[in-house]
Structures are given as structure tokens and as C-alpha cells.
């Protein structure tokens, strides 16, 4: 049944997609004056089996490997491509639906068609059967990705749980000074929350706040832990480290205040906005720190609020 569905989908797509969506632009062309002896080098170097022949802006013919082999077999003198090329080239217009191209390939048995702009008749590109297959596969992949995402969004994990109280708990361990892996915890948390079918805006706020906090662990501490507690009504994130601690908590909350080292700033971070951004993303935030002992950041993001705003 799934296979039938896919075939139906492809049939729809070949009416939807246009020639210009799958053709290859920047075509390699030759002039009718180019000698046949040159053609072999061009075909081989560019790994193509045929190419349009263009004079000025105008398409005057097409020359293929077949033409070249025929010329070789007849052991003729070298001559300009113009004498051996196929004139009366079958072309397609870039705005035509793919189905038309498919039918033409079927009827005429050609390996390729030149694609022209309908107004100017200028050569825009070339299309082969391979391009059509590739274009369809690409489109199917995009659609599949969209569907897959939607499927995740449609799940509502908590609604399927029958209990008086349900709590999910996740822990992520963050290494200090490991800038390369910065954001891995926030990324894993984000993917997990999405899978639970939570509102994307809520997930985004949690992800941004957690990422900022994870960055702080990496930039300023030797590492720490991120603990996340998910309940049907709210998500709580607690980020803890064991030092060095913040000397003045009020001061670090001031926008633009930063003690970040230069290398961090060069990477686009450490502008003294992180904690403010965490505050902005959360419904409740608490920051406590003891010098030499460590820092604890707790934030709460309400799920019900977000669900409400989605319903409105």
C-alpha cells in the first residue's frame, strides 16, 4: 500500500515540478566552428556524453558521443562540429511541466534535451533522464522530511500517560572549556522535547535558555550538570557547577556586562547577553552563586501558557 502511495505521489510530482527545477544550468557548450578532433577532449574532461552547439546566444545544434563515434568510424578528415551535429534540435521550455519532458524522452528516445527560455529562446540548461530521477528523489526527500517532522509534532506523549502525577527527568553532563562540543546537551534535549510532542515555541525557549547556560558552563567553569524535569504543565531546567562562582550576581545580570575571554568573543559569544536571554526565555529564573563553591541557575518554563497562546 505504501508503494502505491509513493507511485501516486511521483505521478503528482511530475505534473507539479517544472523543467527548470531539475535541469542543470551552467551548461558546457561548443561552437559550430570547434573542430571534431577537439570534441573528444571536451567530452572526456567534462565527463559528458553530448553537448549543445551554440552560436552567439542561439542554439544551433547538439552533438553527442554517438556523432563522434560515427565520425571516427568513417575515418573522415577533421572538420568543424557544425558539419556533423544534429540540427533541428528538440528542445523544451524551462517553464514546462516535467511530465512533458518525460513523454518526450519516451517518444523520441533521446539522451538529453536542451532547455530554452520561452521568451528569449536563449539556452538555459540541459536535462537528462538522470536529472529527472534526481529531481524527483530530492523532492520526495523534502516531502518525507516535512511529514516526519509533522508526525513528531502530532504526538502528545503526556496525553497517553495515565497517572495522577507524571514527571520525566533528563540529565546532561557538560565538560568545561570544550567549545567544540558546546551545545550538544541543548541539542539532545531539544530533540527529546520535540519527540514528546511539546509545543515548538516552548521547546525553542527551553533550547535557547539551555544552550546559553551550557555555553556559560563551558566558557567559565570546569563543567557541570544540566538537569531537566518535564511535567505536563511545566519544564524546569537546573544548571549546576562547582566553581569558580560569580562574585556579584547583580552585576552579571546587567546587559552587556561580560568577563568572557577574547577567543570566545571571536566566535560570536560572550557579549554579556546570555543571562538576560535566559531570563527572557523563562517564566521564572533564579541564580545563586557562592565564590569558590559554585553556581546554580534554575529556570521554569510553563507549558500551559504556551499551549494557551497556540490555541488563541
Amino acid at each position: 500500500m505504501a508503494a502505491d502511495g509513493n507511485i501516486g505521489k511521483i505521478q503528482e510530482l511530475i505534473y507539479e515540478i517544472r523543467v527548470c527545477d531539475v535541469m542543470k544550468g551552467n551548461v558546457i557548450t561548443v561552437s559550430p566552428q570547434t573542430p571534431m578532433s577537439e570534441l573528444r577532449r571536451i567530452l572526456r574532461e567534462k565527463r559528458i556524453s553530448g553537448t549543445p552547439v551554440v552560436e552567439g546566444d542561439k542554439l544551433v545544434g547538439i552533438i553527442s558521443l554517438d556523432d563522434f563515434i560515427r565520425w571516427m568510424a568513417e575515418r573522415e578528415q577533421d572538420c568543424p562540429i557544425g558539419e556533423k551535429m544534429t540540427r533541428n534540435v528538440q528542445t523544451l521550455y524551462s517553464d514546462e511541466p516535467l511530465i512533458l519532458a518525460v513523454n518526450r524522452f519516451d517518444q523520441l528516445g533521446f539522451g538529453r534535451f536542451a532547455v530554452l527560455d520561452r521568451k528569449s529562446e536563449r539556452l538555459l540548461g540541459i536535462i537528462t533522464k538522470g536529472d529527472i530521477v534526481e529531481g524527483l528523489l530530492r523532492k520526495l526527500e523534502i516531502d518525507y522530511y516535512k511529514e516526519e517532522n509533522q508526525r513528531h509534532e502530532e504526538q502528545h506523549f503526556f496525553e497517553d500517560i495515565l497517572a495522577d502525577k507524571s514527571v520525566l527527568f533528563f540529565r546532561y553532563d557538560v565538560m568545561g572549556h570544550d567549545f567544540k562540543r558546546a551545545g550538544e546537551s541543548a541539542s539532545r534535549l531539544k530533540a527529546t522535547l520535540r519527540r514528546l510532542g511539546l509545543n515548538p515555541q516552548i521547546v525553542r525557549r527551553v533550547a535557547i535558555a539551555t544552550y546559553e547556560a551550557e555555553m556559560n558552563l563551558i566558557i567559565y567553569t570546569d563543567g557541570g550538570r544540566i538537569r531537566v524535569r518535564v511535567q505536563p504543565h511545566e519544564i524546569a531546567v537546573r544548571v549546576e557547577d562547582s566553581g569558580p562562582g560569580i562574585p556579584d550576581v547583580d552585576k552579571v545580570m546587567r546587559p552587556g556586562y561580560s568577563t568572557a575571554p577574547e577567543w570566545v568573543r571571536e566566535l560570536g559569544f560572550g557579549a554579556g547577553m546570555g543571562l538576560n536571554n535566559i531570563l527572557k526565555c523563562s517564566d521564572k529564573m533564579d541564580l545563586r552563586s557562592a565564590l569558590g563553591k559554585g553556581t546554580r541557575l534554575s529556570i521554569c518554563i510553563s507549558i500551559e501558557e504556551g499551549a494557551k497562546s497556540e490555541a488563541n
Binding site: G183, S187, R204, G268
Partner: protein, 118 residues
């Protein structure tokens, strides 16, 4: 505006997410400060930036950005490209500098994140 329009307007090359050229991009922002991106950019928008480290892709992932375009001919390294591919975030690179890139897109009607209304 579709990603393929942005590709054309900026004379850009798509270095990751080549299959996502039909993606809709409704607004954009230019910044080299990831802190600003995290604080002010909206879901689905295009980020124009001169930074190419993997954290730019991480930032885009967290904020649900639609695409990233590196300006002034900067090419990201393989690690950045791989991360973008795995997160389905398209990466473009344009030879144009930041100001010209933003200007061209704005002139063609792509609004900024702060003025965009649904």
C-alpha cells in the same frame, strides 16, 4: 521568498542542504554576534553572517532558523557542513560582503526579523 531565489539574488552557492532549495524564507537578519541571534532572531529566518564555526549552526538549530548564508566568500569547514546536513539547515556562501548581501535581499522585499509581521 524561496531559498533558490536567495541563491540567485546573492549569486550564492549552496554548500549544505541542496535538496531544500524550495524552502520558504520569510525574513532575515545579519549578525556576527550569536548572542544577538539567540536573543532576537525569529523561527524560520535567514541568518547572514561572517562567522563559519560549528556554533553558528548550533545557534541556528536552537533558534529554528531557516537557513544560514556566509558572506564575503567564506566557506565553512566540513564539520560545520556535516552538522548542518544532519540538522537539515541549508548553508549558502556568497562572494558579496555583508552590507551588499543584506541590501540586495531587502531591496527584493525580504523583511528584517524585527519588522516582520505574520
Amino acid at each position: 521568498m524561496k531559498l533558490k531565489d536567495i541563491e540567485r539574488i546573492l549569486g550564492a552557492e549552496i554548500v549544505a542542504g541542496i535538496g531544500l532549495r524550495e524552502k520558504d524564507i520569510e525574513m532575515a537578519c545579519g549578525s556576527d554576534l550569536m548572542s544577538d541571534v539567540l536573543a532576537f532572531m525569529k523561527s524560520g529566518s535567514l541568518l547572514l553572517t561572517g562567522l563559519t564555526n560549528p556554533q553558528v549552526v548550533r545557534t541556528a538549530e536552537m533558534t529554528d532558523l531557516g537557513a544560514i548564508c556566509f558572506v564575503r566568500g567564506k566557506k565553512p569547514d566540513q564539520e560545520t557542513i556535516d552538522m548542518a546536513e544532519s540538522k537539515n539547515i541549508p548553508l549558502l556562501t556568497t562572494p558579496l560582503p555583508m552590507f551588499e548581501s543584506c541590501g540586495r535581499l531587502y531591496r527584493r522585499g525580504l523583511p528584517g526579523c524585527s519588522e516582520y509581521t505574520e
